[in-house]
Symmetry: D2
Subunit: 150 residues, 4 copies
């Protein structure tokens, strides 16, 4: 789906907000590609964030997918909006075993208040890519909230 | 609800598996209390895991709640089972602003293969506790999988 | 949890809207009890709405729980609001086998725009009650929408 | 995605099970097209299943999508399996206003026990099609359960 962004400067706005997420820096997650209503993130494997079997913890996969969904949504919002996650659901399809991970999210429905996004996580190993998780997230645009800025 | 655990040594089994989750150690999450089908975890505030508004990232809250749900389920499983998360859904009710965070999860339905859990996250600030998120998670018992041990 | 309703006449407002849901009448679903932020519905068994094993179809259980969540939320909204379901998630814990079914929902977090509810479905058989499903639903208050009235 | 069905006679097996769902007959829902891991259902508009604004009730949309997900999953299962819904989540993107409705579901991940599906609902009006809901569902294969047959 192609979206026309309300804010022509969405890219710098998304990147500035993403850079303020300490969690992304700490986890080594970076934006690989960004379009209006679409984003791709990358994360290396971290032994420090694994679960009891050595795979990346489902919650860390969810962290990256939530940011992906949030910024896909945020890219289509007006420039005075802040974005918050209302809720998300994630299905874990395969163990998060890989050398690195790719996360893609796109907007399914952009509304004035509510935006719904879908995301997919892939484990990369020896040049092969495997779908390991899917997310559906409900994002909300907030306006004029002193405590919550973009 | 009161559950009778199949494995009378569930507590040491749960704690040993929890200790193998590097993600818990890295995030400073600890078990505060554990009963059959019920668990409480604690996490300090981490600026390093915040999102763009300075609150703890929704995915980090999800990470703790997912482990809480997983170990509440695992406590009721037989001692040769491994536990994996099939899926979870989280609703974010308020910003994750606090000095520390408490996570509680309990088993709603324990089955041979599928166990369903519910969890709640609370932000603690100045001795006050605020509900910030709820999770429903579907957990699965795996047996005789060489690559996935408890 | 006890809620103070914004609209003291919430009960007649909820009942009037419920009565406009043809789906409730067709399925024989009735309000048994109603409080601010809390509701209980009843439904008889219908062979006409069963799935392939003779149990009530999961979607019909979801229909009743969605209405329960919606009206629990609606009871706390101001009297010029309309309510719509943003999303819900249901876990099916046991087959919907029973002579009749009870559905309870309560508000977990009431916000100006978004209200989050939880619901539970019980199958009744020979005076015994069994938990068969749980729902978490996200409801939204709409204002000044000509096409969507309460 | 293309799937190779374990059971070459999946089509007659799916149709026979679908025909046993009284709920489908009662709601006038029919299979329009069926492939291995993919299905399309049709439903006319029913005033009898509307909510308070005259749109089709979200739970009825969920009923059709749940059957679509269930049968997409069932088509890939061996011929001695029964299928049950573990859980599903639905996002309502637009009012279910239309002359008729189309439901599509496909398998995202087919496992021995757990199969994950995604579905989409469309409202049809004056030859135009509008996406009104998306579902993610977790389906389970059951074997040798006397009370639950396909």
């Amino acid at each position: 789906m192609n979206f026309t962004p309300i804010d022509p400067n969405f890219e710098s706005r998304v990147r500035a907000s993403f850079d303020r997420q300490s969690a992304m820096k700490t986890l080594g997650i970076e934006i690989k590609e960004l379009k209006a209503g679409w984003i791709e993130l990358l994360m290396p494997y971290h032994e420090a964030y694994s679960q009891q079997h050595g795979f990346v913890h489902a919650g860390i996969i969810a962290t990256a997918l939530d940011s992906a969904c949030g910024y896909a949504a945020f890219s289509l919002m007006p420039n005075d909006a802040a974005v918050l996650t209302v809720e998300f659901k994630i299905n874990l399809l395969a163990p998060a075993a890989g050398d690195s991970f790719v996360f893609r999210a796109h907007v399914v429905k952009a509304g004035r208040t509510i935006t719904v996004c879908e995301g997919q996580a892939f484990a990369m190993k020896n040049q092969a890519s495997k779908l390991i998780a899917t997310m559906t997230g409900t994002m909300m645009a907030l306006f004029q909230r002193g405590d919550i800025k973009h």
